[in-house]
């Protein structure tokens, strides 16, 4: 589904990704681990289309279509979702209104009319129940005053509403205690199907106990230096990153 070939990218002339090759098929869960500064967040930002970064070389294909010329919102419509490490607070816009705007933007892109209010409410109710989320959150300003865990749950709720093909979880576990982590992982697992895929970007192995990867890749200094199964994550936990160098 996602095919990254020889990707070189960076910011302000500094190359951070130095030739990434990665293939993710539908139904798979991949994890990318690596020390700080290895380029993990850059990779997720570049796939999502953050215009602060520049692609110097290489290709990103989603279902055989190049994403490189598409703005972030178009990539979202094509099926990319990124759960942010630090979700943004937007006081004055409720989560409900925000997600309504997002859903209708996608429908407009696909040539459809706005989703009628009744159907929108039904969809919201359904997804909130699936994720065992208290709907009270939805009428508060987006992420404002939310704890770390609440913000991440809100990200997963939005993911449930938007039904992406590829969900990138960018350091979703950062700042979460074990209970919050379990809730978030639970949500992600409920949304997994054989037709979508998940890319988990993480520093710690802990999250991977709950979102079990099919493949683990180690990113170091802008390159994937090793790939393996889920056991690789345990090895890294034990031996640290220096072992691979």
């Amino acid at each position: 589904m996602l095919k990254i070939t020889n990707l070189h990218a960076g910011i302000e002339g500094n190359e951070i990704l130095k030739g990434i090759n990665l293939e993710i098929k539908a139904g798979e869960v991949h994890a990318i681990m690596g020390p700080n500064g290895s380029g993990k967040s850059t990779l997720s930002s570049v796939i999502a289309g953050n215009e602060t970064y520049e692609v110097y070389k290489g290709e990103i294909l989603l279902n055989n279509e190049s994403l490189l010329d598409y703005s972030p919102d178009v990539r979202a419509h094509k099926g990319i979702f990124m759960s942010f490490q630090y979700p943004v607070e937007i006081p004055g816009v409720t989560t409900t209104n925000f997600i309504k705007t997002a859903i209708n933007a996608k429908r407009k892109f696909l040539g459809l009319e706005d989703l009628p209010a009744k159907d929108m409410l039904k969809l919201i109710k359904e997804k909130a129940e699936l994720l065992e989320m208290d709907r009270k959150f939805l009428s508060r300003s987006l992420n404002q005053g939310f704890s770390g865990g609440e913000k991440k749950r809100n990200e997963i709720f939005q993911m449930a509403m938007l039904e992406p093909k590829l969900a990138i979880l960018d350091e979703t576990d950062s700042g979460l205690d074990i209970d919050a982590l379990k809730i978030v992982a639970n949500g992600v697992n409920k949304l997994k199907t054989k037709d979508n895929a998940v890319l988990v970007i993480t520093h710690y192995q802990r999250l991977l106990d709950y979102i079990v990867p099919d493949y683990v890749h180690v990113l170091h200094d802008g390159k994937i230096i090793k790939s393996g199964g889920k056991e690789l994550a345990f090895e890294l936990e034990e031996k640290g990153y220096d072992w691979l160098k």
Binding site: S71, D73, P91, V93, N97, A102, A105, F109, L162
Partner: protein, 438 residues
């Protein structure tokens, strides 16, 4: 229009009987005229006008008065009223009262016209007691207005009265060969323990009208009175508005003054609050959203004259293209005004390289047991927030609009009339070119 021609206009109107020589206030008028002639129109050489030039708008000929009652079709003007609610209405067309469009009252309160109040003997005591007592005598535009003061809104709410229906004061102007120079004069007196909501608006009925309005309003909020005042400044693109509103508050009163500036070519707002009592609350809120070459100057003054009072000021501005904003917030805390809480915040977003904001907080604090703060921010939209919204599928332009709407939202939240809140929200969305799906 030149300052030294004003006297001849005045004489002409006296001769025509339009400015009533017998009226209670004629002496006040003639003195104001003489004082105005000494000062002339404000120029950029004065500190208070340093960013605001009136040269261009004064470099035109204006019609000073209309004495004929004009008629307009209700359907033409209905959209300018908040028509979803039942309200009192005091409506003027080119400075002349329109009885057809208005809905005044004398039932236990006076919601009516300045011209009646200035002529009828039953109002003489009130007029003598209040009229022109709190205007700033160094302010030449207020003096000019006083010289020609003749028509506007007169509102007197007796004590212990909760006025359920809001009062809409609307000044329409029509298209004529020479544009109008209107000088509405409002006097609003709210007695002890009473409450009122007032919405004020200036609206030209033609897009290419060059109406100039020099408005003066005196508001007296007596003990424990509550006044919610909303100024909607969304006039057509060639109009100019010079507004001076003076507010005197007595013990334990609350005045909430809200200014929404989206239209017009040049707008200058002067708000002056005088806290003459303890436990007074003065809240000043404003949103300014401008584009093209629009100009809005918000000058405010809060005089904390007594202890234990509070003032809260929150002004937000969004400036696109070559628009210019000026914010000057003065707070003066007298040495006896201990336990004053005075908070001022001015936040601005500049959407382009040619947009400008000149922001100047001025706190003069002479008491030592006070809590005072001021904050000013000038910035651009947060790139991370924009990317977050785009990643959710919201295109860049809509994302910007939504962020800007969110930026101004805490000021809009303070509107206490639901129909007005939704109207202002729609105005903001329209001005920001964003379709709010909610």
């Amino acid at each position: 229009m030149k300052a030294n021609n004003i006297a001849s206009y005045f004489l002409e109107l006296e001769n025509k009987g339009i400015l009533d020589l017998e009226s209670n206030i004629h002496k006040i008028r003639t003195k104001a005229l003489a004082d105005f002639e000494q000062l002339g129109f404000p120029s950029k050489k004065e500190e208070e006008w340093k960013y605001t030039s009136l040269k261009k708008i004064l470099n035109q000929e204006y019609e000073l008065f209309s004495d004929k009652e004009k008629t307009v079709e209700l359907k033409e003007v209905k959209k300018h009223f908040i028509h979803e609610i039942d309200s009192y209405k005091i409506v003027f067309i080119d400075g002349v009262f329109s009885s057809f469009l208005s809905d005044t009252s004398h039932q236990g309160m006076d919601i009516c016209l300045m011209s009646s109040a200035l002529k009828k003997t039953k109002y003489k005591i009130i007029i003598d007691h209040y009229f022109n007592t709190i205007t700033n005598k160094d302010n030449s535009l207020s003096l000019l207005n006083t010289a020609f003061a003749r028509q506007g809104a007169f509102i007197h709410i007796p004590k212990n009265t909760l006025v359920e229906k809001p009062i809409q004061i609307i000044h329409f102007s029509t298209k004529t060969k020479k544009p109008y120079f209107l000088q509405p004069r409002n006097l609003i007196i709210i007695d002890e323990n009473s409450q009122v909501k007032i919405i004020e608006k200036h609206q030209s009925l033609a897009d290419d009208n060059f109406t100039l309005t020099n408005s003066v309003t005196e508001i007296f909020a007596n003990k424990r009175a509550v006044v919610d005042y909303y100024k909607i400044q969304d006039d057509t693109e060639n109009t100019s508005l010079l507004d001076h509103t003076f507010i005197q508050q007595k013990e334990a009163s609350t005045v909430n003054m809200n200014t929404y500036s989206f239209g017009g070519k040049l707008t200058r707002n002067n708000l002056e609050f005088y806290q003459n009592g303890e436990r007074i609350e003065s809240n000043l809120n404003g949103i300014t959203i401008l584009n093209n070459k629009q100009f809005v100057d918000n000058h405010t003054l809060v005089m904390h004259n007594q202890p234990n009072c509070e003032s809260n000021e929150l002004y937000k501005g969004i400036y696109a293209d070559s628009a210019t904003g000026v914010f000057n917030g003065k707070v003066i805390v007298d040495k006896i005004a201990q336990k004053t809480n005075a908070f001022q915040q001015n936040n601005n977003v500049l959407l382009g390289e040619k947009a400008t904001i000149n922001s100047k907080p001025q706190l003069e604090i002479f008491a030592d047991d006070v809590k005072c703060s001021h904050g000013c921010t000038i910035g651009q939209l947060d790139d991370m927030a924009l990317f977050y919204m785009q990643q959710r599928g919201i295109p860049k332009k809509e994302a910007q609009g939504l962020l800007l709407y969110a930026f101004g939202n805490d000021v809009v939240e303070k509107i206490k009339i639901p129909e007005l809140k939704s109207r202002i929200t729609n105005l903001i969305a329209k001005k920001l070119n964003v379709k709010l799906g909610f």
